[in-house]
């Protein structure tokens, strides 16, 4: 292969695919980026076997030459070093030429680079996915849905299925669920025109979803999603993002969500968030993150935490509405702050069914999200 390519286009494509490069791999070919040069453009591919990302650079764009192809061909270049050096080359055009034994020459101005290339035949083959059933979701909505659920996944590799977010689509409702057994986050959205599509138990690794989020551009783009047997394909502009679906059956979480409650509070999100943040700061020093919440007879609630070594923080918050029984319980304030960070509505409701029953938090906007935190069993 021999090409002359625009540095900025190449850098962007490298940026996209580099998220799939495994930095700690013992298989050298997986630490590389595959170049496939055809006359209509260059395809870059990287894969850590869990996720694979492909980015296409067209030979021409807006009537301008992006890649001048002199000779087609393929090569795998080690991503380490290569990713960094490209950005730092002195010219806006870069020459790349593959010689014998995949030896690759890169030239830019007075800079000459020789790279030890690898055989592209050894590179993993991407899964083939039939694209007959495509689900289109606005990019910013998808990013939001990921952000509002992914923090609740489990980080423990002992329950691999819980390290993912469970997606399901039924009757036009796309639903995300994440839980680590101590907390749960769900977000549902109505997608018009998807009534003929249906899937369930599509569990995608939280780490993968975070990487996917970074690839979705800020401007309004549609992300095309194709769900296959054990793979999902996301198409974002000229980038193809393949992810493995996690093996196993996701637990049925519908029974965890209580339908009734004994106490219901309506209050200001920002007030609650700031109060819990201050109480959290002290509880963090105790390494427990325990914060207490109790309703006050005189109205309002009290948020407090204490540390034998340092002292005590006590906060009072007014309620917009209160209904039901007086209550006093303890919870992990870090979990509560994680929820409050992703709630965008000005007010929220908190419902309790008892001291040891789940705490249910819901924004008052129509975002169709619901959060659950299990309280701590404490003696005081």
């Amino acid at each position: 292969m021999k090409i002359s390519i625009s540095k900025s286009h190449l850098s962007d494509a490298i940026q996209h695919v580099s998220k799939a490069i495994s930095s700690r791999t013992t298989i050298p070919i997986l630490g590389g980026i595959k170049f496939d040069v055809a006359y209509h453009g260059v395809t870059l591919t990287a894969s850590d076997t869990d996720i694979s990302i492909q980015s296409f650079i067209p030979a021409e764009q807006d009537n301008k030459t992006v890649v001048a192809v002199e000779k087609v061909g393929s090569v795998v270049l080690p991503a380490k070093f290569f990713v960094e050096i490209i950005k730092k080359l002195p010219t806006s055009e870069i020459e790349m030429e593959v010689g014998s034994g995949f030896q690759t020459f890169i030239r830019a101005g007075a800079t000459d680079i020789q790279l030890v290339g690898l055989d592209p035949e050894e590179f993993p083959v991407l899964p083939s996915i039939e694209e007959n059933r495509v689900l289109s979701v606005p990019g910013d909505l998808l990013r939001h849905m990921i952000r509002q659920t992914v923090f609740s996944i489990s980080t423990q590799e002992t329950t691999p299925i819980l390290t993912g977010v469970m997606w399901s689509l039924k009757e036009g409702q796309l639903k995300f669920v994440a839980t680590d057994r101590h907390r749960l986050a769900t977000r549902t959205v109505r997608l018009e025109g998807t009534e003929d599509l249906e899937f369930n138990n599509v569990v995608i690794s939280g780490k993968t979803l975070n990487e996917l989020s970074k690839i979705i551009p800020d401007q309004n783009t549609l992300v095309d999603i194709v769900v296959a047997d054990n793979q999902v394909l996301f198409k974002v502009d000229r980038v193809l993002f393949y992810s493995r679906i996690l093996d196993g059956l996701y637990p049925d979480t519908s029974k965890i969500i209580p339908s009734s409650h004994k106490t219901r509070l309506l209050l200001d999100t920002k007030n609650l968030s700031e109060s819990i943040d201050r109480a959290y700061l002290l509880s963090r020093e105790e390494k427990t993150n325990i914060v207490r919440m109790q309703t006050l007879e005189a109205g309002g609630i009290e948020i407090s935490s204490s540390s034998t070594e340092l002292g005590r923080v006590q906060e009072e918050i007014q309620l917009a509405e209160f209904e039901g029984e007086q209550l006093r319980l303890s919870f992990n304030s870090k979990y509560m702050l994680d929820v409050l960070k992703v709630i965008e509505s000005e007010q929220l409701t908190i419902r309790f069914t008892g001291v040891m029953s789940p705490i249910i938090i819901e924004p008052t906007d129509d975002s169709n999200s619901l959060y659950i935190i299990l309280p701590y069993r404490t003696t005081n």
Copy 2:
């Protein structure tokens, strides 16, 4: 003590003194901030015994009350948690009151905090320094001089004296020297009106100088410096910064700097910097940082590095001037980049006396700085 104090003024003062709080101390009192309340204002002090910082908050500023003092007194509050919570309090005015046993109450809006305070009598006493001989240096100049030398200090605790920058003042010339035995950085500046002052072998820890730099504001401020037997005091606005002078005699570096040379190059700083940066990227993968430089018979120099695993980078740079013998040598590219980062002039000169002799780098502006790097002994 009992006061009502402006949150922003208190936060700023905490910000200043917190740089002297030792986070890993086993002596609780050193993890605290001392409050001394008098009717004219509040003094905050923190100390890790190597450095001590004091910041004064006046009771009044620009005819506005900053601190309303109801009762004078002193207390030491644990910095951990306290430093963070103050910024997050909900009101712009904060009430502080010390009760029995140094129990301290902090009130802001609906937030009530109780802190376990410590006895101020147990706090270390600051050194008393006679201020009869004060050296005034513009803040931005001092920051520059620190930045242009401190990177060359040794990080090895086995030679404690080399972990500092050596200051000397003689005949109106303030000079900074830093070396780790493999490289050396010096910067000299002429300070008018200091001819009656003189000191030598004032070695200040590089870590301390970095902290001092952060305290010097961006706008043009004079820093007053008082050198005593084993302490230096820096006065920046309302902040007093005390530093210990390192024990021991700094090595005589004057003999290391060669007076003659066999080869002299004049070249563009940016070109050299970018070329070496690219060669460094590859040499870093070999964990040696070895980069080769050689003069070319046809003119110019070649910069190169190679990695058995990855390949080779080769750069050619034009020279503005060349005089003397052809030369080829290897050096630590990280050391060279550190120097090139702090050189502000467009061009620089490099002088060599031989393959194993020091490389001397000097900017062509009149900044009076000089850098030395020892080359590597390599076979090729």
